[in-house]
Every structure is written in structure tokens, then in C-alpha cells.
Amino acid sequence: MTDSTQQAAQEPEGKGGEGFDETVEAKSMLQIVISQFRDHRLAVVGFVFICFFLFVGIFADLISLAINIDPDEQNLTERYAPMGSTLERSYDQREYELEQFAKRNADAMPALLAELSGAGILNAGADNEAFISHFAGRSVAALPELRPLTSEAAGDLSSAIEEFMTFHLLGTDEAGRDVLLRLVYGTRISIFVGIIVALAAAIIGLFIGSLAGYYGGIMDAMLMRVTDSLIALPRLPFMIVFAAVDLKQLPLLDLIISGENESIWKVFVVLVIFSWMTVARLVRGSILSIREREFVLAARTLGARDIWIIFRHITPNVIAPLLVAVTLGVGESILSEAALSFLSLGIQPPTPSWGNMLLNAKEMIYEAPHLILLPGVLILITVMSFNFFGDGLQDAIDPKAIRR
């Protein structure tokens, strides 16, 4: 990036050197790009939203820690709780937390048990099991009983029991999971898939486009025939077929589609197969014009090899439009991922993605309409943000559009 901006910065200044107005402060290319980008108000808004979503996605685990809920924690007695409800954790979860408490405070447990039976809360001679089942059953109702006890362990127990109540800002979904956290983790998945798909597609497109553009002839005709036919095809039916079959049976792909996040990698492969064409066309077009320029001829005269010329001399000149294509590609990939997940062919539950959250919410459209609105609006905002950002970027880095 810095390479190309420096190159580009020297060009216009060199040309306009004589008529240079001394009162105008000289600006570097980067400054010009930034100031032009700022003029595009919606693009700036989009950029802010993208940063916010990136932040949320990266720090999803910290958010989960901060509100002390696990995104996969189910609570089947509290399904479809409304927004802003405070709920009691399920019995299993309470039992689990008490077990953890007993394990953490193994040394203090005998004293605590003696204290509890002394106060008449537990029977004399009660063991850990009786302790766990008593407090898991009584839950927060046990808090007043514990108040008179003064020991440190009893205080810890009280605060552990207080955590049996959880606050759900956006309510709970069909399995009693916290909707806010599902959305947060969905953000992580959707943005991550969108970005890596767009990057991988750009790399493949760059490769194919440079081969076709640089060598021309039969290579160009063949590669571009394939690219054009793929562009002309309707994407969605093809993606559905590819997403439905067992791609792992193919060689090479079984290396990518594996491990615990299999469905994510499968979506990745399917989306990449159908999204590299735009970049390939773009790169080929730019190379066709750059190939004839003097600096390429100079490099060849000096004995540079083809690979070197493509990656060292031609690629930097394609980076600006490529960047725009990648940005717009991220939005499109997020949309396609959501569509596939919505058709239950994308990211598989329990991994949350905005698309599969919408699918689950569809079943309960009468009972919990807000479950449809939340992920849907997030998809809409994200896709629009990337589109606006891409538009603004395009205007900002286009040398023809520079205003001084």
C-alpha cells in the first residue's frame, strides 16, 4: 500500500510542478485520500460501523466474560424471555456452579458445612452433595438464610448464589440462550467469514487475472471464457448445490473442510468458488493497460523474470482498485453467507451466525418477532456499511477524481 501511494504521490506533483501555487500547502497522497474520503459522509458512517463490528467480533469472549453468561448456556425453562429480563439459571447450571464453588473452596468446605448445619440450614453431618442439592434447589431464596452467617466462606457462597440470576438485555432465544451474546458471536462469525472469503477470492482472482492479462493469447481466452461463464451463471442455485453436497470427498478440499468448525470452512470454500471472478476481470483489465507501459519494458530489458514483473511491478499498480473490490466483496460475502445459513446450508447450529439465527426466529415469528428484527437489521447495517465504505474508498483513491 505505502509503495503505491508514494509512487502515485510523486506523479501528479511532478507534472504540475511549474504551475505550483506556493500558498497551497503540499499534501501527501495519503492525506488527499483521507480528506476526500471524509467528504463522503455515508462512507465515514460505514467505516465507523465496520470498526465497531470488528471490535465486537474480536472481543466477543471479553463481552461474554463481562456479562458473565456463556453463549451456549441453555435454559429450557426460560425460552423466549422478553428484552431486559432477569432470569434464574437452570437447575443443571446452578448445580454445576455449586460444584465449581465446592472445588474452588475445597479447604474451606468442612468448616462451611459445619457452620451451615450449626445454623440449621443443612442437616447435621451433611456432605458436599447435600450442600449442592440444597442450594441448587433453593437458589436465590437461600440468600436471606445466609445473611446472618459471618464467615468469609459464607460470604463467598452468597455471592456465588447471587450469580444464579442473569440479566438478558435482549431476552433469550428458542433454547433459552442469551440473544445479545448470540448476536455478538454471530458478528464474529459473519465478519470473519466475509473478510477471509473476500481476501481469498482476491488472491485467486489476482492470480488468474494476472496470468490471463500478462500472457494473453490462448491462456487469456481460456481463463476468461471460464470467468465469463461463471459470472453469467446464477450464483445462488449453484451455491446451494455445492453447499448441500459432501465436498469433503474431493481431494484437497478435505484438507480445508475439517476440524470442529467444519461448516464454517465449507461455507468459505463454496463462497470463494463463486466470488473470485470480479477481481480476476478487474486485474486482467488493469494489466492489459499496464503491460504496455515503459517501466514494464524497462524491467524486461534488464532481464527481470515474468513472476517478478507481475508481482513487483504490475501488482502494486492494481492494489487501489483491488482494495475497493475486496471491500465490496466483504459485504457481498456476508450477504451470501447469511442467505446460505438462512437456507440451513451454511453455518450449522449451535455455532451462531446472523443467518441461522434468522432461520430459527422464522419458526417463532408470531411469538417473538424481535428475534427476526435484530439479526436482520445487523445484516442490513453491515452490508450497507461495507457498500458505502467501498463507494467512498473508490471515490477517494481514484486519481481522476482528485480535487485540489
Binding site: 442455485p237 448445490v241 459432501d246 418477532p369 442490513l380
Partner: protein, 323 residues
């Protein structure tokens, strides 16, 4: 021109053959072949039976031979049997195609009917209030994901207001209604999916017709016509609009292919029995024969419509020639 058309038809034919093979090969990767599915439903089946069934259906042969057998049968009009519906695929496809064409065709019609005038008028008065709101509508339509828009429409018109049914093509017992009531019932089911598709497409038409109208009105001959003191209406409609029409018709021709491929999600969300939903259901239900045929129909239609669009260019714009 004739040789060009012939060449294009030939090319399209070759592409269809290649694609049908690729699709056949990809669909062969579906988890579980018909015999596996049958074996899992029958606890008494022995491995020998499975072997025999495979041989009977020719599933033990290599891919290329299976493809050849399938292609031969399809060419003779034998589309096979649907595994999930238990009827021949031929009986299934016709109705679905008609339903899809009704849905997408009406959506296209309404989108054009609203979109083009909206675009043309906002192109005549750039930066007016009308232009501003038309732009907003266009942008909202283009950016909203089809599945979300469909769900929103269901939420508003079916759940909150209960004006229209949330899903389906016809009410149960539709065949017993009188002709008029039956038609009304069909229309009632059509409204929401049609609205959803219309909103998605309209934005594109608004944008295109706006920009091409602006472009047309910038021509020198428009200034000349105005200078001659010609009637404003004549200038706009006879001189401006007719020239603006060329790019509009091309984009409409291109979107004809959308008639067959774009409504898959909308049909699925609304449970509308079109070809897109059939394709989706058959893929989810491992119904190989139906999936293959409905997929190929979709692809062939799209390619033919693209071809039609190419040929239309030449008819509309005399400057383009393919000789």
C-alpha cells in the same frame, strides 16, 4: 446476423452440456445415494440386497457412464421418478414452472410499472424531493437481503395486520371454490411474495432509468429542440425518453434471467410452490432426479434469457451490429 444467432445457440448448447455434467458430478457427492437411503429405511435389508440394488440401478458404474445413461433418458423425455413426491418428475415440473412465471412475471411487471416512471421523473428533476425519495427507495431495495425483506413483510402484513396469508400458493380446498373465488385466493397468496420481489428489483430500474434519462436530456439535440421553441412535452417524451429507452430495455432484458433464478429464496420463505422452492426442497430432501431436472431448467432458462438480451440489443439499437 443469422450466423451470429446460430453460433450463439451452439455455444449455449455446449455450455449447457458441460454444466449438466459438472452438476451431475457434484450432485453425485450428495451424502447417501438412493440405495443407501432405502437401506436405512429397511432394517431387514442384507448387504447382498444392497449390492444387487446397486447393480440393478446401475449405481456401481463409473460416473461418466451413469451420466451418459441419465442424459440419454432425459433426451428421450424420461425425467425419472421423484423420491419424495412419488410421482414422475414430468408431472411435477409443469405446475411449478407456471407458478414461478406468474410470480416473477407479475413482480417484474409491477417493478417496471413503478420503477421506470419514478426513475424518469426523478431524472428530469435531479436533486428535487421526488429524486431524493426515489433514491432512498432504490437504495433500500437494493441493500435489503431478500430473506429479511420477506420476513419483514410476513411480520407486518401477515402477523400484525393479518391482511394476507403468511405462506402457501393456494388454500387447502381451493379446487372446490368457484372460478372467481379460486382466482381471488391465488391472488391473495401471491401479493406478499410478489411485493417482496418487486421491492428487490425496482431499485435497479429506478437507478438505471434515472441516469439514462439524465444522460439523454444532456444531448445537443435536446438543446436544439428546446431552442427551436418545441413543446416541452414533445422534447421530453419524443426526443429525450426514446433515447433513454435503449439502456433501460437492455437492463430489463438482462433481468429476465432473474425471473427464473432470483426468486428461490423468496419462494422458499413464503412456501410458494415455484421452481425455486422445488429445487431447494429436492436438494434438502436428497431427491436426485428432481434436483437435477429443476436445476437444469433454471440454468437453461437463465442462459436463454441472456442470449435473448444480447439479441435484443441489436434490435433496439441500430448502432450495434453482430455481423
Amino acid at each position: 446476423m443469422t450466423t451470429y444467432i446460430l453460433r450463439r445457440f451452439l455455444q449455449t448448447g455446449v455450455v449447457v452440456i458441460i454444466l449438466s455434467f459438472v452438476t451431475f458430478a457434484v450432485m453425485a457427492l450428495m451424502p447417501g445415494d438412493p440405495v443407501d437411503l432405502r437401506a436405512s429405511a429397511d432394517p431387514h435389508i442384507t448387504p447382498e440386497d444392497i449390492e444387487r440394488l446397486r447393480e440393478l440401478y446401475g449405481l456401481d458404474k463409473p460416473l461418466i457412464i451413469r451420466y451418459k445413461n441419465w442424459a440419454m433418458e432425459v433426451l428421450q423425455g424420461e425425467l425419472g421418478f421423484s423420491r419424495t413426491y412419488r410421482i414422475p418428475v414430468t408431472d411435477l415440473i409443469g405446475d411449478r414452472l407456471v407458478n414461478s412465471v406468474i410470480l416473477s412475471g407479475s413482480a417484474l411487471f409491477v417493478a417496471l410499472l413503478i420503477g421506470i416512471p419514478l426513475g424518469v421523473f426523478s431524472g428530469l428533476k435531479p436533486n428535487s424531493k421526488l429524486d431524493y425519495s426515489a433514491n432512498m427507495i432504490a437504495f433500500a431495495g437494493i441493500s435489503t437481503p431478500s430473506f429479511f425483506l420477506a420476513l419483514l413483510l410476513i411480520l407486518l402484513f401477515a402477523v400484525q395486520l393479518s391482511w394476507f396469508p403468511a405462506s402457501g400458493t393456494l388454500s387447502p380446498g381451493n379446487s372446490e371454490l368457484s372460478f372467481f373465488d379460486g382466482l381471488l385466493d391465488r391472488l391473495n397468496h401471491l401479493v406478499l411474495p410478489m411485493l417482496s420481489l418487486t421491492a428487490l428489483q425496482m431499485g435497479v430500474y429506478v437507478r438505471y432509468s434515472r441516469s439514462s434519462m439524465m444522460e439523454a436530456m444532456r444531448n445537443d439535440f435536446i438543446r436544439t429542440a428546446k431552442a427551436k421553441g418545441m413543446d416541452r412535452k414533445t422534447v421530453i417524451w419524443v426526443h429525450g425518453f426514446r433515447n433513454a429507452l435503449i439502456p433501460i430495455v437492455t437492463i430489463v432484458a438482462l433481468s429476465l434471467s432473474f425471473l427464473f433464478s432470483g426468486s428461490l429464496i423468496t419462494e422458499t420463505v413464503f412456501g410458494y410452490q415455484g421452481i425455486g422452492k422445488l429445487l431447494y426442497d429436492s436438494i434438502i430432501g436428497n431427491d436426485f432426479n428432481v434436483a437435477m431436472v429443476s436445476f437444469m431448467i433454471t440454468i437453461i432458462m437463465v442462459l436463454l434469457m441472456n442470449l435473448l438480451a444480447d439479441l435484443l440489443y441489436a434490435v433496439i439499437d441500430p448502432r450495434i451490429s453482430y455481423s
